[in-house]
């Protein structure tokens, strides 16, 4: 439903006439993020300051218009999709690094700053920003904070929430607040900790203070081939079970390696059933000892053709292959669909068998590239959206894979968020009481429900989980 003319006029007064988009043609660009389902916003508004964000939200609140904050649109769970219409609040004009403090090792950034740009800027001081989603060349820090994004190096360094020190946020009533800050152990409730990862359903983020880390003095990056994906999974479980926590421990299967190699020529072995990319960092003595222990576990679990990067050029190439893998899949099929469920790490061999079987059952190609060390899967189901009959099959296969993850004691999402696409599955894990407690948080921040409505919580008005749920596994599991 288009916004009323007076509302549009007011929006234009707030952000300037060039920064409100409402032509049907232009709005289509903002229909989607990197997931499957789309919906057209009624207007796209591009604020430049926190005051403008506050004024837009205040206006939206008066008229009960949904507001959906949006960064680079690289999200994988439909978090930025305006499923109930309303305003897409496009944050990318707010793209300044406001401060890098080399003494306190922090940075203050606007939400539209691109993840990789921050690490590049910090490098001048020997510092870096640890969370590194594969989309880091495009995704924004604001989007990362909203989704609590991960990345390969989160195995050792932790995810976004572990690196956000404080934020300036605008709430559903248009009020502006600072939550947390540089000092540890702040008095009161940890609002910042609750807001990070709230997927735009509690606030819009207008500034973020993040921790920066010192760039490690040395890196050791190693590629190992395995006959099968199950063998590689056993190697991952063995490494973790032996108390070794690498900086990153990534797996790619044969389908992925084939696509990556054709694109990047990084020297990945295309005959292998799977490869592991392992990185450790720190001082040379540490990396040597850790890498020796890792090599033992890899070879003891049928790893072969171990190849360590000899220099930073080789290291970068190996990582370019991993981080660019999802794009390289376009060589096989134009579209992909993936969930990012997480299993306890000892369950990797079983879940990878199950994922393979589900793909075969549906006769769909599946490309696996994932944060194996965390147990964080990314089975990419490859298809062609122009074939409308296949989409339903793809979604069903995805649902079955996620269901298997939950049966193995896992979680619905490790880093992509629940968003639109997994909200129907929330009752598999959380009981009505669990969900009600989360709803109480939502209501305390956004009583009228204007912030990113239709996300996270199951929506009775939308398609339901096809597979029946053993409801509330988190509550009923024997470990409670």
């Amino acid at each position: 439903m288009p916004l009323e003319a007076p509302v549009l006029a007011q929006l234009r007064r707030i952000v300037g006439r060039d920064h409100v988009i409402d032509s049907a043609h232009d709005l289509r660009i903002f229909e989607r993020d990197a997931s499957i389902e789309g919906a057209t916003p009624d207007a796209v508004v591009l604020p430049a300051t926190n005051d403008e964000v506050a004024a837009v939200i205040k206006l939206a609140a008066q008229h009960r218009i949904p507001v959906v904050p949006r960064g680079a649109g690289t999200g994988l769970s439909g978090g930025a999709v305006t499923i109930r219409g309303g305003i897409a609040l496009q944050m990318t004009r707010m793209r300044h690094i406001l401060e890098i403090d080399p003494i306190g090792q922090t940075a203050l950034v606007e939400p539209g700053v691109v993840n990789q740009e921050l690490s590049l800027a910090a490098a001048a001081h020997g510092l870096f920003y640890a969370p590194d989603p594969s989309s880091q060349k495009a995704c924004t820090i604001g989007g990362n904070a909203a989704e609590n994004s991960g990345g390969p190096h989160c195995l050792y360094y932790g995810v976004t929430t572990n690196h956000v020190l404080g934020m300036e946020v605008v709430l559903a009533d248009g009020s502006v607040h600072w939550v947390s800050g540089d000092a540890p152990d702040r008095v009161g409730l940890d609002l910042c900790g609750v807001l990070v990862g709230s997927e735009g359903t509690l606030c819009a983020i207008t500034k973020i203070k993040v921790r920066l880390l010192r760039v490690p003095p040395t890196f050791a990056t190693l590629l190992a081939a395995f006959p099968t994906i199950e063998a590689a999974s056993h190697a991952v479980s063995a490494i973790i079970a032996h108390g070794i926590v690498p900086a990153a421990l990534e797996m790619m299967d044969q389908v992925t390696v084939g696509a990556v190699e054709a694109h990047y020529h990084a020297g990945y072995p295309t005959d292998a059933g799977a490869v592991l990319l392992v990185e450790v960092d720190g001082i040379a003595e540490s990396t040597h000892e850790l890498m020796a222990a890792i090599r033992n576990q890899l070879t003891a679990n049928n790893g072969y053709a171990l190849r360590e990067a000899k220099n930073s050029v080789e290291r970068d190439l190996l990582w370019a292959g991993r981080k660019g893998a999802i794009g390289a899949l376009g060589r096989i099929k134009p579209n992909y669909y993936l969930h990012d469920g997480v299993v306890p790490r000892s369950k990797l061999p079983q879940i990878m068998s199950a994922v393979g079987e589900i793909g075969e059952h549906y006769k769909l190609p599946v490309a696996n590239m994932f944060h194996a060390g965390d147990g964080n899967l990314h089975p990419n189901i490859l298809f062609d959206m122009r074939d409308s009959a296949v989409l339903h099959q793809v979604e069903s296969a995805g649902e079955e894979m996620l269901r298997a993850v939950i049966e193995f004691g896992g979680a619905l999402s490790g880093e992509h968020g629940i968003g639109l696409e997994k909200s129907a599955f929330m009752p598999w894990v959380f009981s009505p009481d669990d969900l009600r407690a989360m709803q109480q948080v939502k209501d305390a921040f956004d009583q009228d429900g204007i912030m990113n409505p239709g996300k996270i919580f199951p929506d009775p008005g939308r398609k339901q989980a096809r597979l029946p749920g053993r409801t509330g596994l988190a509550s009923e599991a024997k470990w409670w």
């Binding site: 306190g104 540089d182 973790i240 108390g243 070794i244 720190g282 948080v441 470990w479 409670w480």
Partner: protein, 363 residues
């Protein structure tokens, strides 16, 4: 004349939740108690009708060594948990002061940490699942048993350090860590504060910084290096401090004066904070974190002065233990946070009858 509170020791989470609901329905005030090691933290409660003790909820629910994850009931002591983990070559990097006897639930509710925070962060960084009894008698879980999880709101953060004001933590899951290959403790005695401060900066600037580094008002420094043997030995040699017996950490963790405060500031402001404490003050600090624990001497005025300095540095001073009179006079928490109204909204959502710890926390 105030009646002594009734003591309840439920045997299960369900029983605890029921007790909580009944108290709430009867408009009674409930004080959750773990090991009782932080019983003087916060303002003296306005009312205290029921002491709800978690001591019988003391089981390890599951320790999955291969997953490096443990789930426990809230009433288990940190020592019991560590000894279980130790059997499998793992540990939880939580080493609070005023030990022994803390329970896991109590540590989460109060947010107490220790020296290992320098390397491992706080439970904020390794608490991955939680189960909480709410005043209306419901049990609500969040998170899970995997190390990476963004399913739903991060309710773990909501209850961490919340002083049991929104619910009573009944169980928790943690990411645990492997015992270090090599673990060496060194120390240095300095003649002056400045000399000790410079030495602490040297230690932190090492390419493998200490996992724990404590600076004491006596001018003593204690550092602990964890890692591979060659790496640790090189760091220890470069630093040149004397080897110390690892038992110094047990001794250090026993610190818990009768009246003490935690001052937390951005770590680059800690030097000024330490300088501004009264001459002859007794304290111990984690310079890499930005926290100093101060054994309060000098009464209310000294607390007010130190708090003013801490708050001017964008930090806080919280009284960890002390006489009721002192806590009433200066307040346990100091300047209310600017987002207090939001916090009150959350309190009202979960505990509208103000059953839990009324008057003890900021909400």
């Amino acid at each position: 004349m105030v009646n002594a509170p009734t003591i309840e020791k439920p045997a299960t989470a369900e029983e605890l939740a029921r007790t909580l609901r009944e108290a709430s329905n009867s408009r009674l005030a409930v004080i959750p108690v773990g090991g009782g090691r932080a019983s003087e933290m916060g303002d003296p409660p306005d009312r205290s009708d029921v002491e709800l003790r978690t001591s019988r909820l003391d089981r390890v629910l599951e320790h999955s060594q291969g997953d490096m994850v443990v789930s426990v009931e809230a009433g288990i002591t940190i020592e019991s948990l560590q000894s279980e983990l130790h059997k499998k070559g793992q540990f939880l990097p939580l080493d609070p002061f005023n030990s022994p006897g803390h329970t896991v639930g109590g540590l989460l509710a109060t947010g107490w940490t220790g020296p290992l925070r320098q390397r491992f962060g706080s439970p904020r960084d390794f608490l991955i699942g939680i189960r909480v009894a709410l005043p209306d008698g419901r049990l609500a879980s969040a998170g899970g048993r995997v190390v990476k999880n963004v399913s739903g709101y991060d309710m773990m953060k909501l209850h961490l350090g919340a002083m049991g004001s929104l619910g009573v933590i009944v169980a928790a899951s943690f990411k645990v860590f492997p015992d270090a290959l090599h673990d060496v403790t060194v120390e240095l005695a300095c003649k002056s504060f400045e000399e000790a401060w410079v030495a602490s900066e040297t230690a932190q600037a090492l390419p493998l910084p200490p996992a724990a580094l404590e600076l004491l008002s006596s001018g003593r420094l204690i550092a602990r290096f964890l890692g591979s043997k060659d790496a640790v030995e090189r760091m220890v040699a470069e630093l040149g401090w004397g080897k110390a017996d690892p038992s110094v950490w047990v001794e250090h963790s026993r610190r818990g004066p009768s009246t003490w405060a935690r001052i937390a500031v951005p770590r680059h402001r800690l030097h000024a904070t330490l300088q501004s404490l009264p001459a002859g003050a007794e304290w111990w600090a984690s310079p890499g974190v930005g926290i100093v624990h101060w054994s309060i001497a000098g009464g209310a005025d000294a607390v007010r002065d130190a708090r003013a300095d801490a708050e001017a540095a964008a930090g806080s001073l919280v009284i960890m233990a002390g006489p009721d009179d002192l806590r009433r006079e200066v307040g346990a928490w100091g300047r209310p946070p600017p987002t207090l109204d939001l916090m009150k909204r959350l309190k009202h959502a979960f505990d509208p009858a103000r059953t839990l710890n009324p008057g003890r926390f900021v909400v």
